[in-house]
């Protein structure tokens, strides 16, 4: 009995830590989405699909053309950043004055386009990088290096964005626009340029997430659906546009999924997370940190 309890606790601890590691990547995704929402006031329903395209880019560069992972990664980030800017330029910009729901639905259309583009171009096979990183044994617990690496890279990415937002002129302009859209244009800031930069930045974060996720998961055209909805829920739970809230909510969600998956199937972890989200919406409709405002 005692032995059983010991093992159980180890698993629990392992699940908790794995949850934290998962939370890092989710936080990265949530940051990108929050950035776009906070600044442009648009929800990119297709955000996870941008990540999927990035994962395919990594796959082809590393597996097909034999480019080293560390050279492919910046290229992928650049590619998805360009995609993000293109998405804004082609789809969102013509709709800036339309009702917000139209912008959301238009990105829903882009979701279809990206998903089926991947199906048509790459087929529905599951593909992976074929890089198998070793497993780190710590006591009786096992953690994959891939997850640890992703977590650290996600943290680095987030700190970089934080520094960009607080230490550069463009970053300051972005934050200012998220506070007041009309006034900034009067202050001589080109809002369209800032929107484009923000979209590219959001895309770049999706690209970084793609480089990290491709280490852990197989790529297929519908991979976006497995973490896309979760990302939206995290953003809403943290308060759309609220960076700190999104960061905290990522870890809350990751823990629920990880611990829920420990006691039952992984799907139940997701069900729990979704149910938790709906309950929280009623307790804190404006997000976890709403009271501070």
């Amino acid at each position: 009995m005692q032995a059983f309890l010991d093992i159980f606790d180890i698993y629990l601890l392992e699940a908790v830590i794995n949850g934290i590691l998962l939370g890092g990547v989710l936080a990265l995704l949530a940051l990108g989405l929050n950035l776009i929402f906070g600044v442009i006031d648009v929800t990119w329903i297709c955000y996870a699909e941008l990540v999927m395209i990035g994962m395919y880019a990594m796959y082809f560069m590393v597996q097909y053309y034999g480019i080293s992972y560390f050279i492919a990664a910046p290229l992928t980030i650049l590619l998805v950043a360009v995609l993000g800017a293109a998405l804004h330029y082609l789809v969102i910009a013509p709709l800036l004055t339309a009702p917000p729901i139209n912008q959301l639905l238009a990105t829903g259309g882009v979701l279809f386009v990206l998903q089926s583009f991947a199906t048509v171009a790459f087929g529905i096979d599951f593909r992976n990088l074929g890089i198998r990183l070793p497993v780190l044994a710590f006591g009786d617990m096992n953690f994959s290096y891939a997850r640890l690496l992703s977590f650290l890279a996600a943290l680095v990415g987030m700190v970089a964005v934080y520094l960009f937002m607080t230490r550069t002129f463009t970053g300051t302009a972005i934050r200012a626009i998220s506070q007041d859209r009309q006034i900034m244009a009067l202050m001589g800031v080109d809002t369209n340029r800032i929107y484009l930069i923000t979209s590219a930045l959001g895309g770049a974060l999706a690209g970084l997430a793609a480089c990290l996720l491709v280490l852990q998961y197989d790529v297929h055209p519908f991979v976006g659906l497995s973490f896309g909805p979760i990302t939206f829920l995290i953003c809403v739970l943290g308060g759309l546009g609220n960076f700190v809230g999104g960061f905290i909510a990522s870890f809350v969600f990751a823990e629920i999924i990880s611990l829920g998956g420990l006691f039952s199937d992984l799907e139940w972890g997701y069900v729990l997370a979704f149910a938790f989200f709906i309950v929280m919406m009623f307790i804190r409709p404006a997000g976890l940190l709403a009271r501070r405002r």
């Binding site: 259309g109 979701l111 089926s116 583009f117 997701y270 979704f274 409709p285």
Partner: protein, 339 residues
Amino acid sequence: MMGQGRLAAWAVGLAALIALPFVYRDPYHLHILVLILIWSFAYTSWSMMGRFGLVSLGHGGFMGIGAYVTALLWNHLGLTPWIGIPLSMVAAGALALIVGYPCFRFRITGHYFVLVTLALSGIVLQVITATRDYTGGSLGYTPNRASGNKLLALQFDDKTTWYLIALGVWLAGIVVWHWVDHSMARYALEAISEDEDAAAAAGVDVTAEKLKITLLSALMTALAGAIYCQYQMFITPDTVSGIAVSLQMVFAAIVGGLFVSLGPTVGAVITILLAETLRIGFGTMAVGWDNLVYGVLLVLFIIFLPKGILGSLLDRLKPQRKVPRAHEQEAVQIARPGT
């Protein structure tokens, strides 16, 4: 109210639709028509909410509940769909109320409402997948073939019967649409979609009005799911529930036209014919192409033709009479025939 000419046009069209399967018996074409009618009904159900700015991505969930609850009750308890379908509708309605009440009470609107409903369809999809011991998970589920009375089991091999059932359900959907269109609730909901505070100040019970339309929409969507399940005799979580199905509803309703009664039907005709043409034209090569075309069309429609095909066409035909309403995205009110 309806003008004489318009009523006559509806009557002739309906008579032609009823007569069709007795004159034309090609099973493949009838199959396509049945699918179009069932999905039209589902899209119409969605548009009942969507036209008032209540964009829900949770309808995939309601449809999944309609389909799975009916099938599960039949297979595990032997309960006839005649009781199972109302029960599944009650289940979907209850879920709609449980999620809807707090949403409307706490003024969850816009992006937030879309994302909360997105969570709803996510939950339904994951629950169906997770309870794979009962529902067959992502591999799909088949209602047991009836050994005895076919009518009791609501299973027919005859395409004509199904065509008439689907036609009846679709017609009921259109009638409900017009009923809402002519009711006071419509004005209340239009006021709400433009300005909730102003509507509340004018004496509209915002929460109650929104709940009523949500409940109605959810009940109808669950019925659509149940009928689809009974007709196809095979359902998978991906074809009747989840975010993709929800987006498909939004897409078809917008392409056809949100603010006219036959808009969602036109949307269903276009999307299903497109998918079938691509499937036959390109065979297995077509996998993915239909959605690619859908997606591009959806984006183009939202940017250039937000009133949808039918809505824009009717707009062309009629002179403008009313001041555009904000929530109709510059759409002129064209949904009230004969006034």
